[in-house]
């Protein structure tokens, strides 16, 4: 606790995530919060593996980080910007521009082509990039997908392919922060390993900060840092949660 406070001034520019006395209640009348995080900082460019039992609040935390939910109490700062100071609209825009999100499944709009799904991210970020097709193709080839997949409908892809397209879409706006929630649970072992490899490599290459949530402990090996959700929510210092 003390160390983080003294470091605060210089760590301003290097922190990707900073949580302070966060509480979240799904029902405002509930007596005890569904999630409590006294303190947690994450440096820019770090990729952490967040694990914990079902119901420990991992997904809730990601929703808070994405700005979809707002904490009942406490301050969330993403890249030094306090979410609480932004309007819902500004948070949506911030998410569109700076945060990529990948979920377990159903990440894509099934009736749109892969390209259109990716272009949608560009549309909501209002970047209107001209090179969107080239970037999409480059990303897909990094993710080991053929370029021909661009014009296929999302619903025609295998689950593993869909998850890779989801990553490509999450990364298309070169987000500073990538939030990933159990992306591999629908994949078989070999698809999972291939998926993890490209994900970690692509993020490392782009120096993207990543919070990766799973309760599959075998995935821990892909990350330098792991945090147990219970520790995060109980401890008063983030350091105790780190392995």
């Amino acid at each position: 606790m003390e160390s983080t406070e003294t470091n605060n001034a210089e760590s301003q520019s290097t922190l990707a995530i900073s949580l302070n006395n966060i509480e979240y209640k799904y029902k405002s009348k509930a007596t005890s919060p569904d999630l409590t995080i006294p303190q947690w900082d994450l440096k820019r460019g770090q990729q952490v593996f967040l694990y914990g039992d079902s119901g420990s609040g991992k997904t809730t935390l990601l929703n808070l980080l994405a700005g979809v939910l707002t904490p009942s109490a406490g301050v969330i700062k993403i890249f030094d910007r306090a979410f609480s100071s932004l309007s819902a609209r500004q948070r949506d825009k911030f998410r569109a521009r700076h945060i990529g999100v990948v979920f377990q499944q159903f990440n894509l709009i099934p009736y749109l082509s892969v390209l259109k799904n990716i272009q949608l991210a560009d549309y909501f970020a209002s970047t209107k990039r001209k090179d969107i097709i080239d970037s999409a193709q480059a990303l897909l080839s990094k993710l080991k997908m053929p370029a021909s997949v661009l014009n296929k409908r999302a619903s025609e892809l295998s689950v593993g392919q869909q998850q890779r397209v989801a990553i490509a879409r999450a990364l298309i706006n070169q987000p500073e922060l990538l939030l990933v929630d159990e992306p591999t649970s629908a994949l078989d072992a070999s698809a999972r390993d291939a998926f993890m490899k490209v994900l970690v490599e692509t993020c490392a290459a782009a120096n993207t900060t990543m919070v990766f949530v799973s309760h599959d402990m075998s995935l821990q090996d892909y990350f330098e840092t792991s945090i147990a959700m219970p520790l995060l929510s109980q401890s008063s210092s983030s350091q105790e949660g780190l392995k």
């Binding site: 997904t59 990601l62 929703n63 994405a66 979809v68 939910l69 819902a88 609209r89 949506d92 825009k93 911030f94 998410r95 569109a96 521009r97 999100v101 979920f103 377990q104 499944q105 159903f106 990440n107 894509l108 709009i109 099934p110 009736y111 749109l112 259109k116 272009q119 949608l120 991210a121 560009d122 549309y123 909501f124 970020a125 879409r169 929630d181 159990e182 649970s185």
Partner: protein, 413 residues
């Protein structure tokens, strides 16, 4: 990628229910727009039929009846007035001109109108437009005839052609007076009024058609020198020197003792016609609007029903940074796209129908409808439709808004 293209693809993904909804919208919008178009066009078509005529005089019946047969050539005249009455009216000090008309015969389904040469000079339609000859000139002889543009077009007649006029008004008359041939001396330019469907001859010509075959032969062979004097006419159209005298003259005519006469003012009779039709008109409009509302409810129901299956879609859009307002607009946009398409299709359908049935409507009902749909009033009706669409689609749009507001990104769907 735009919101429009997203809405478009989203509609495409629910093709079956969307197509059904589209057809229900197409039908209801077609009904509403055609009622509106017919209403406006009928009024305009009727109003432009006669202009510059101050008084119409005929045998006493209803004023609508007289208006219908003298101006619209609809129905059959019940009685005639004496030819001498026409002469008296013509010489009346307040009257500037008088044009007699004599109806009751036909040529291949087209009405035959006996009249004087003044008809071509004084009869006006629309905004005081006079009749203009496409070819030839007014009739001079007893067996000369001037035909309207539709008669020429549909029967393929040229100047100098000889035609036969039948007694009675059915398309196939029983008593063909084959031995009374008329020569076409003039063809009129199109007017968009019943004039286009009329065969004009002299009063003497009409009289001749009704002579016995022997008398007719005598005339045709030039055995009789005497002119055939018309004994009666169906109605007389009057133009006055001063319009201020209209009511006085109308009263005088109605009180004539020498003949049973009735004088009507075309404008007043036309107003009565509209009052009569006004109720029907409003009833049709109300029905049209109710049909529209019911199909718009169908549209809303379709969108609302899709909301459940679209929860995932909405979550994806939220992930990408779409706010609840965007989701709201998306649903509204889908409704508007469908309705706009239905409006476009309905307009096409109505225009096509009008184009194909125009001649039939004109010959059977004297309705000259323009295929040109986009008048200010129709545009206004379209705006009302769009307004009603927004008002009804707001329900599913709000539902989508709420769903977006409460969407929590979750791996479990």
């Amino acid at each position: 990628m735009t919101l429009f293209s997203l809405a478009w693809h989203s509609l495409g993904s629910r093709r079956k229910s969307v197509v059904l909804t589209f057809f229900s919208l197409l039908i209801s919008i077609s009904v509403l727009l055609s009622v509106e178009h017919l209403r406006l066009q009928a009024k305009e078509s009727f109003n432009r039929t006669v202009s510059g005529v101050d008084i119409i005089v005929g045998a006493p019946s209803g004023q609508l009846n007289l208006l219908l047969y003298s101006v619209f050539r609809m129905g059959t005249p019940t009685n005639s007035i004496k030819y001498s009455s026409y002469q008296t009216l013509k010489n009346h000090s307040l009257v500037e001109w008088a044009v007699p008309i004599s109806l009751g015969d036909s040529h291949h389904g087209f009405r035959v109108l006996g009249t004087s040469q003044e008809y071509f000079q004084y009869f006006k339609y629309a905004d005081k437009k006079g009749l203009v000859f496409e070819q030839g000139q007014a009739f001079t002889g007893m067996f000369d005839t001037v035909i309207g543009s539709d008669v020429a077009k549909q029967l393929g007649y040229k100047l100098g052609d000889k035609i036969v006029i039948a007694h009675g008004i059915a398309a196939t008359s029983f008593t063909h007076h084959d031995n009374a041939p008329f020569t076409i001396t003039g063809i009129l330019k199109p007017t968009g009024t019943p004039v286009d469907k009329t065969v004009h001859t002299s009063l003497a010509g009409i009289e001749a058609v009704h002579l016995s075959p022997r008398q007719l032969r005598n005339i045709l062979e030039g055995n009789t020198k005497e002119e055939i004097a018309p004994r009666q006419v169906t109605a007389v159209m009057l133009g006055l020197k001063s319009r201020l005298a209209t009511f006085k003259l109308q009263r005088d005519i109605n009180n004539t003792n020498s003949d049973k006469l009735m004088a009507i003012l075309p404008g007043v009779a036309m107003t009565e016609l509209w009052q009569l039709m006004g109720t029907v008109e409003n009833l049709l409009r109300v029905i049209g609007f109710l049909v529209l509302i019911s199909s718009l409810f169908g549209l809303s129901t379709m969108l609302l029903a899709s909301m459940d299956q679209r929860k995932g879609e909405i979550a994806v859009l939220r992930i990408l940074g779409a706010g609840p307002r965007v989701i709201f607009s998306l649903v509204l946009l889908e409704a508007l796209i469908l309705v706009l398409l239905a409006i476009a299709a309905a307009s096409g359908l109505i225009s096509l129908t009008l184009y194909l049935s125009g001649d039939w409507l004109a010959s059977h009902y004297g309705l000259f409808l323009s295929g040109h749909l986009f008048s200010t009033d129709i545009m206004l009706a379209m705006l009302v439709i769009l307004g009603a669409t927004i008002a009804t689609a707001i329900v599913p749009a709000i539902e989508a808004y709420k769903s977006a507001l409460h969407t929590v990104l979750s791996s479990k769907l």
